[in-house]
Amino acid sequence: MICLIEKLKKEYLGRSIVTLLGIVIILVTLSITGFLFYKGLGTFVTYNHSVWEFLFSSDWKPADNFDGGGKVGAAIFIVGSLLISFLALLIATPFSIASAVFMTEISPILGKKLLQPAIGIFVGIPSVVYGWVGLTVLVPAIAHVFNLPYGFSVLAGGIVLALMIFPTITSVSVDAIENVDNGYKEASYALGTTRWQYIYKVMLPSATSGILTGVILGLARAFGEALAVAMVIGKMQTFPDNILSATNNMTAEIASDMGNSAQGGEFNDALWSMALLLLIISFIFILIMRIIAKKGEEVK
């Protein structure tokens, strides 16, 4: 009897602690979201700017005071963020898929021994180091190769970000491929197909929804990264003419000016609006991932 009570106590205690911690996390997430909305909407409520101006104008001269009257067009940062992130995706995805295929189908032994640990190391490197290496190696190299006065550019940002999101896309893709029903492989081989025919026509199509999830996760990571990008993008207040031009993006702008603006002023609130936009975009990414995952389930 006592034993039973003890058991119940333990059971309930464990369950209560877990539930409590869960509730705390939910509350924290909700408060952060609420806070971002509260701060981010100031631009539109307190300082009377239109959402249209914020999203589509490139005139960025917010007033660092409480009277307002500046310009809060964030289009350059938004375009900068989009360009760099998609460029990073474009560079990283082929390498990631190729590595994932190599690790799962071509040489699992070599893959597990060499590539997997290497990817682990990639994940562990702090972003300031990526940025620093980019600044020291990549930026001069781009200047040299393309014969430019300096190499700060969309391309530099894209490459640095590609390195940073490569492990994410790769490891999610490896999981997706390992989840492909082994029966498909046996069925394919038994029909006299080659390994590549199986990989192209059955394995990759079956793993597509999982791989896409990895791609979106990578995109989300690319979108949110500030430090490394800020170091190599050039922080130029212009739209880039091409991928070799310098520009700026949302995270870099927030990071560089958040400490230089008065709390609650128009400038500061405009930065909060960009933070809110980043949050909304990441919600959209999560939504897309959910939809893809659901589609993937339906196919199965």
């Binding site: 029966g183 038994a190 029909l191 199965k300």
Partner: protein
């Protein structure tokens, strides 16, 4: 009746690492017959079946000694495995259609062999489905996902998929063990029709099934073939005490 020998193994040993799963197997498989492998599970039936189309190549630890003569050629040697697998098809225990349309499932094998002509593929798909007794049920939804079919239909689709390669031999590893009795009856019925054109080798854990559909039966026990003979002989007058014990249900 003097039938041709299709497969013929000589002192076939197979090891998974240090574990010997097949011990000196000597078997003759005759053309256009149904040969059944029976025996308790874990006795090497699947392992042996997978030797015949070199599916064990997929498992790193496997080591094979002895000969497997297929149409006069030892397939354990340095052969064109792709070619072998197009001639020796396989149907698995769990129906495993690809996550594609019914049409694409069947056209997949021929397409991988380089068949591109649409009309030729159409004909092949239809003929294979007709032979697998599935055409009537799916002719209106060839472009729908194969995963929407019932288990029994999926397994007949897998048979159609194997037939589309125009193989000489079809290997079946407990093809009805995941199916209900009605679906099972349909597949057994199909097998007796298919043996006119193909050599069929089937692993089954159901002695009744072996009795109903096979011409010859091999009884496997602990990696050895204890007895191999005409099916009626195995079931009514087995030579080995262990075979008799097994078929009378005294063990296994």
């Amino acid at each position: 009746m003097n039938k041709k020998i299709k497969f013929n193994t000589k002192n076939l040993d197979l090891y998974y690492g240090d574990f010997q799963a097949l011990k000196s197997i000597n078997l003759e498989i005759y053309e256009k017959e149904v040969t059944a492998f029976i025996g308790p599970s874990g006795c090497g039936k699947s392992t042996f079946l997978r030797c015949l189309n070199r599916m064990n190549d997929l498992i790193d630890s496997v080591k094979i000694e002895g000969e497997i003569i297929f149409e006069g050629q030892d397939i354990n040697g340095d052969i064109d495995v792709i070619n072998l697998r197009t001639r020796v098809g396989m149907v698995f225990q769990k129906p495993n259609p690809f996550p594609m349309s019914i049409y694409e499932n069947i056209a997949y094998g021929p397409k991988c062999q380089g068949v591109k002509d649409k009309t030729q593929l159409d004909t092949l798909v239809k003929e294979s489905l007709v032979k697998a007794a599935l055409w009537e049920e799916v002719k209106d939804r060839l472009n729908k996902s194969a995963l929407g079919l019932s288990g029994g239909q999926q397994q007949r689709l897998c048979i159609a998929r194997a037939i589309a390669m125009q193989p000489e031999v079809i290997l079946m590893d407990e093809p009805t063990s995941a199916l209900d009795p009605i679906a099972t009856a349909k597949i057994e019925d199909l097998m007796s029709k298919l043996k006119k054109d193909y050599t069929i080798i089937i692993v089954t854990h159901s002695m009744q099934q072996a009795g109903r559909i096979s011409d010859k039966t091999a009884f496997f026990l602990m990696g050895e073939v204890v007895e191999f003979n005409e099916t009626p002989v195995i079931f009514t007058n087995p030579a080995d005490k262990r075979t008799e014990d097994y078929i009378t249900g005294r063990f296994g």
